[in-house]
Amino acid sequence: MRQFFAFVAKEFRHIFRDRLTTAILLGLPILMLFLFGFAITTEVKNIRLAVYAPAPDDATRAIVDRLAANDYFILSRTLADPSQIQDVFARGEVGLAVVFSENFQEEMLHTGAAQVELIADGTDPNTAKTLVNYAQNIIAGYQQELLRDASVPFLIIPEVKLLYNPSMKGAYNFVPGVMGMILLLVCAMMTSISIAREKETGTMEVLLVSPVRPLQIILAKTVPYFVISVIDLATILLMAVYVLGVPIAGSLALLIGTALIYIFMSLALGILISSIANTQSTALLISGMAMMLPVIMLSGMIFPIETMPWPLQWLSQAVPAKWFIAAVRKIMIRGLDFESVRKELAVLSGMAVFLIAASLKRHRTRLE
């Protein structure tokens, strides 16, 4: 036991003496959350708006006022001629153009078929779609107001409401994703690199010749990364709640328990990788290519799994981060209880047990 603690102390020294690595390991979650939260945000806000109304009337003014009063849009240009539409988009001056038909109000009141055209920049289809949806909702809202006064009882206007994330905040989506990514990065990648380093420098051989049990060496390697990943987890949760305004809707204990299972799984994965890789660069490559890529592409963190072709959907079932992110979304965002994440937890636990067994077996046979 004393030997074990000596080893753990040594591992901490390796990490903390390398200032840059320490800074990266502890600062990474903050950096990632800021990056996703503010820089690569998928939310739309303060989009500049151009309006072309050939014959402004009460109805077009009312719609434009409502659009401009909204947080999402700023009225920046009122166009005098439809030919200007091309120009303002080409110069990137606006994100959305609203073009009313001539005699808009009249058509609306009498034929019931007034036309308004929404033009958005399709080079970024996600943003364009979101913008158009917002604008449609606002226009529909106006229409509804009008209908309240009129006596047309059979008209049904659908109202769209987003559950759990009413304001469409991107943070709700990426906080679980960032958690899945960082915990895997710290646990699997760093553990595998630090074990591979000992092999590369030859110290592992000396340790194996010593009376210390190989299992002790390996376990001691994982302790510091376990501690760091718990600190990172706390950082992410605190930032999520207090900086990004994402509340923890479900049970905190359940959330932490899920994260712990995921951390153990990641540590085992790191040990398994290190049993294959003999150099730090190989370890980095394996963990980078074989783990980070699936986490980003196939975990549902960025691209929804439901819309993928079925071979990829099938493949994504084997990505642990997919299950973790799904569970965290359920617990943290939707506030569901243990019953509803049973499947995810079972899969994650199964993966953890399998990886721990596999990595121990590989290390044991290697040492023969």
């Binding site: 004393r2 030997q3 000596a6 080893f7 030859g202 051989e205 340790l207 010749v209 010593s210 009376p211």
Partner: protein, 245 residues
């Protein structure tokens, strides 16, 4: 007293026989040179004797313990220094010594004294707080050797310990080896440098996994009618069938 015995030790990897029925004995306090070209099976044989690898057949004992049945006891009674430098660059000198003392089971209360003793013997007390990474290679190797003996093992295995250092540093290193041998520690050393083979009490020369010669350097030179160990070695190694692996 025999501290290392090998009887028909063999290690096969599939069809390849890395170590082919080698037998020898090493006396306590002896400096035993284990020579051979790259790929001759030196490292494999050494790994068997250190309890890292199980022989396919044959019996080996180190410090009285069977290498295949009691590898843990073997490990506890030997010191080991590899050809690759084996201390931690990002730990201080004293931290390295303390770590290895702990690993080799030196009782906690003895470790400070042990550390001082190592530093005093190397005349390096001033350098205790230096990072190992900042030391010249010659110093690192001397330190690694002392660290390998921090627990007073009966036998020290040195795997090409002087690779890459200049002749002066090598001579200093061999002085440490002689000191250790005089205090009764057995030295089992592999080397590439044939001038170092001359420093050994006895040498064995491994060719294609078999021991082709085993005697004192003087007797070998007589037997092969060669002025230096270098020529003895080449006379034997020329017969090798296996290339470098």
């Amino acid at each position: 007293m025999k501290v290392i015995t090998a009887h028909e030790l063999t290690k096969r990897f599939g069809n390849f026989t890395a170590v082919d029925a080698i037998s020898f004995q090493v006396e306590q306090g002896e400096i035993f040179g284990f020579l051979g070209a790259n790929g001759a099976g030196k490292t494999t044989a050494m790994r068997i004797l250190c309890g890292l690898s199980r022989p396919t057949s044959g019996v080996g004992t180190v410090a009285g313990f069977d290498v295949s049945r009691q590898p843990e006891k073997v490990k506890a009674s030997i010191g080991y220094m590899s050809q690759k430098f084996a201390l931690y660059d990002d730990l201080k000198v004293w931290e390295n010594i303390r770590l290895y003392a702990g690993i080799y089971g030196v009782p906690a209360r003895d470790i400070p004294g042990c550390t001082d003793e190592v530093l005093r013997r190397l005349d390096f007390t001033d350098g205790r707080n230096a990072m190992v990474g900042s030391l010249p290679l010659g110093w690192k190797q001397k330190l690694a050797f002392s660290v390998a003996m921090v627990h007073n093992p009966r036998i020290v295995f040195l795997d090409e310990p002087t690779g890459g250092v200049d002749p002066a540093a090598r001579r200093q290193f061999w002085e440490l080896i002689y000191q250790a041998a005089e205090s009764g520690i057995t030295i089992f050393v592999t080397t590439h440098y044939m001038d170092e083979a001359e420093y050994c009490d006895r040498v064995s020369i491994l060719v294609d996994g078999r021991i082709q010669a085993l005697d004192t350097p003087r007797a070998l030179k007589q037997q092969y009618d060669a002025p230096t160990m270098n020529e003895v070695f080449f006379a034997l190694a020329r017969r090798a069938q296996r290339g470098e692996s």
